[in-house]
């Protein structure tokens, strides 16, 4: 079958619409990936620049988190359901306000409380 005008229109529409695979944060196939965590980030708010200035200024923890589990808020909060405990936020924090503590020593942390 020779392609009709409609076929060509459809092909063009597809080629101009399906451009790049993008996704908003969501529950993945692996479920709550926070269960993989061996170390947990906790925030010492007294050191945090965002808390100290009361402004959304630094937020490097939010910017660098590869899993989008740190909120851009005052104070920044961790989503422990999905935080895998990589520690990038703690490394990037210029104020050393984030500490990685062993899950064994951490207090029980149900839900999405965030902070310390």
């Amino acid at each position: 079958m020779v392609r009709t005008e409609q076929d060509i229109k459809l092909e063009k529409k597809v080629s101009q619409t399906i451009l790049a695979s993008q996704q908003t944060p969501a529950v993945g196939e692996a479920g709550h990936t926070g269960e993989w965590r061996t170390k947990r980030p906790i925030l010492h708010t007294e050191k945090c620049l965002v808390v100290k200035t009361g402004k959304l200024t630094c937020n490097l923890c939010w910017l660098y988190c590869p899993e989008n589990t740190v909120s851009r808020s005052i104070p920044p909060k961790f989503n422990y359901d999905y935080c895998k405990g990589c520690g990038i936020c703690a490394t990037e924090c210029p104020a050393h306000a984030i500490e990685m503590i062993s899950e064994k020593e951490a207090p029980s942390c149900e839900g999405n409380e965030g902070g310390n």
Binding site: S15, I18, L19, A20, S21, Q23, T24
Partner: protein
């Protein structure tokens, strides 16, 4: 007022980046590409490119990663490389194309190691054939400047959104001075409107991830990640197919605005109208062939040249028309598809297989690793092809002819075997 300067190919490409106002450049030096980014870094340092960020990186893989990331933030970006550096970029080139990012990069073509060679051939440019970039070859420094301008226009066209390569021969263009007209920034801006990116990673209220794992099946999710990998790749193929008409349209508009044309933007014919024999080549081999055509015309041979400018998408319909009268096509490849034949020869055969008129196609390999290609060698190749064009045994033979080998001097002599 437009300015006329005497520039190398590398510097012509750098001036093109200045004219289009690239916003982020990241590159790692490799011979013969280095001067293009050195010049851009000079522009940034001197304040001539006040809105450009030059990112210094530790490798080619980082260079292309940096510009891919910047492109996803909505910036107009540029990088360049050659040979082994380009090979090191390979993985991320696929990510650029798979995300349909409108980045433009130059390749100063160079032979791939091993063994080390810094001189020109086209193996590097052809080795990235299937990553999904638009690919173009140029013959002069002015064409390099103009093609970079046109490439941004094509790549950023919402009907296309594909990254593009502009390839020019290492040394033969990259380090050779020619007169180049640099256009007014205002006029270039009229030709090339601001980029409208389709990925906005700077939209912090609406956080997205790009290119998550996409399963083989169609996964319809409200949060995105639809459709499937297969549909993305189908879309990319269709974008390539329909990019040809946009490329032609942009070339026409460029001619109207700036008064320069390179054939139809797809290929450049030379004395091809009444030709019975046509040479098919790209880049330096095509420019060398122009003189060969003149010489052979003087000898009474009706010969012409089709210099291919657009290699990907491969302009099958255009080539069927371009070759619809020729009896013989002589293809000079400055590259080899190892274990097969010259890449251009193989692809031309494939393109003309279903054509109404199928000329005899004879391929030769020339000038690998920068081995000088002389006019005499090309003339002898054409004459050999003419002489043997009706020889069925030659047609059926599958060996590949290399022109300009010096095996004799290495002690390999046919008469002594």
């Amino acid at each position: 007022m437009p300015e006329r300067k005497v520039l190398t190919g590398n510097h012509a490409a750098a001036y093109a980046c200045k004219s289009v106002g690239v916003e982020v450049v990241a590159a790692y030096p490799i011979t013969p590409q280095s001067p293009v980014v050195e010049k851009i870094s000079e522009f940034v340092e001197s304040g001539e490119l006040p809105n450009t960020q030059f990112v210094t990186v530790e490798s080619e893989q980082s260079a292309i990663s940096a510009v891919v990331a910047a492109s996803q933030m909505g910036a107009r970006v540029f990088t360049a490389s050659s040979a082994n550096g380009l090979a090191y970029m390979y993985e991320i080139l696929c990510w650029a194309a798979g995300s349909r990012l409108p980045l433009v990069m130059c390749i100063a073509t160079r032979a791939l190691g091993a063994p080390w060679s810094v001189w020109t051939d086209h193996q590097d440019a052809f080795s990235v054939r299937d990553v999904g970039f638009i690919q173009q070859f140029v013959e002069s420094n002015q064409e390099a400047y103009d093609t970079v301008l046109m490439s941004y226009r094509v790549a950023e066209d919402p009907r296309v959104y594909l990254p593009a390569f502009v390839s020019y021969d290492g040394y033969i263009l990259s380090h050779t001075m020619m007169s180049v007209q640099i256009e007014d920034d205002d006029k270039v801006r009229e030709f090339l409107p601001p980029l409208k990116p389709h990925i906005h990673l700077t939209d912090f209220e609406n956080v997205h991830s790009v290119n998550p794992v996409t399963p083989p099946g169609l996964t319809v999710r409200p949060e995105g990640n639809t459709p499937g990998y297969y549909e993305f790749r189908y879309s990319m193929q269709k974008a390539h197919e329909y990019a040809i008409e946009v490329i032609e349209e942009v070339a026409k508009e460029f001619e109207t605005k700036f008064g320069r044309a390179y054939g139809n933007g797809i290929y450049k014919p030379y004395k091809a109208d009444d030709a019975e024999v046509l040479i098919f080549a790209v880049g330096s081999v095509a420019s060398e062939s122009r003189g060969v055509v003149d010489t052979l015309r003087d000898e009474g041979i009706k010969i012409g040249l089709i210099s291919l400018k657009l290699y990907r998408p491969f302009p099958i319909q255009h080539l069927r028309k371009a070759f619809n009268k020729a009896k013989l096509v002589v293809v000079f490849d400055r590259d080899v598809g190892y274990g097969m034949e010259g890449i251009l020869a193989a692809e031309l055969k494939s393109a003309l297989y279903a054509a109404d008129h199928r000329p005899i196609i004879r391929g030769f390999i020339v000038g690998l690793g920068g081995r000088d290609i002389t006019a005499d060698q090309l003339i002898n190749g054409v004459k050999k092809a003419i002489e043997e064009q009706d020889n069925r045994e030659v047609q059926l033979d599958t060996h590949v002819d290399f022109i300009g080998l010096q095996l004799n001097e290495l002690g390999f002599k046919k008469e002594e075997i």
